[in-house]
């Protein structure tokens, strides 16, 4: 048993461009998201009905999380935060289907997302204070704190990515152990807990921590 990404096949002969199950399921969830977005936003009208209500509910739910922490800029950050939230949410929930691995149960995925958030945080800080003003902010209140501040800033993407990775992989390992002990019926509530509940909470938390980092960099 190996919790890491499993190599399924190689593109271009052997040993070149390994394709892992993370990659396959990640692209599958992207296709699911695009298809669902196309379906939910076809024939929009002023009076929402049916499926349009679902789309508006998702957008407003994410907007209500952003607006209190970044006042007046909810719509500016909505596409970024909503992309992260929906992708991680679908990636966490797709592991409930037997035979599919979570794309978020791979450190490559989560670290990539956390690095994107890290770059956005740096950009927003520089946009708010100017490049030199933002860099000078690391040396405050006294110059001796400069290395500690820089290490604290670099620790953010690591803790951000390890949190999601550890939660998903830990749940997956527990479910695998239970399957080896009791294959029938007993794992079902565990799927409900580790797959659905923890997955949804972790997707929400990843987006909210990204908002919190951005609002810390801007204040």
């Amino acid at each position: 048993m190996n919790p890491g990404p499993q190599i399924q096949f190689y593109l271009f002969g052997k040993e070149y461009l390994p394709v892992t199950d993370t990659l396959l399921v990640g692209w599958l969830s992207v296709i699911i998201i695009i298809a669902a977005a196309k379906y939910l936003t076809s024939d929009l009208s002023i009076r929402p009905k049916g499926k349009q209500n679902v789309a508006e509910w998702i957008v407003e739910m994410i907007y209500k999380q952003i607006e209190p922490m970044l006042p007046g800029e909810g719509w500016r950050f909505l596409p970024f935060i909503a992309t992260i939230f929906i992708y991680i949410g679908v990636g966490n929930l797709i592991g409930v289907i037997p035979g599919l691995a979570n794309p978020t149960g791979d450190l490559n995925t989560t670290l990539g997302l956390a690095l994107v958030v890290f770059l956005v945080v740096q950009y927003e800080g520089m946009r708010e204070y100017g490049v030199w003003g933002y860099i000078k902010g690391f040396a405050e209140p006294v110059i001796f704190l400069l290395p500690i501040n820089i290490i604290g800033e670099l620790a953010k993407p690591i803790s951000h990515s390890f949190r999601l990775f550890g939660n998903i992989v830990g749940g997956g390992i527990i479910i695998t152990l239970i399957y080896q002990a009791a294959p029938a019926l007993i794992p079902v509530p565990l799927h409900a807990w580790f797959g659905v509940f923890v997955g949804a909470i972790q997707a929400l938390i990843f987006g909210m921590v990204a908002i919190a980092y951005i609002s810390v960099a801007k204040s």
């Binding site: 949190r163 939660n167 992989v169």
Partner: protein, 85 residues
Amino acid sequence: MIDFSPEVAATIINTVSYIAAGAAMIAGMGPGIGMGFAAGKATSAVRRQPEARGPILTTMLLGQVISASTGIYSLVIAIFLIYGI
């Protein structure tokens, strides 16, 4: 310095890795206490102001997840020790 044969050395490393993984998970105590403390405070806050339930829940979850980070670090270290990634 004793010279072990490679098989014995691999066995010792495996054994010590499993013991170390178990020891790393002792860190699970701290986040448990901290998250329970935050949940208790949030419960009394909801009791005092039931209309502020939504914001209290959001703040509690954010704080709990930040304090759960240390437990997750120990879990990741334990996974790395066991599977030797």
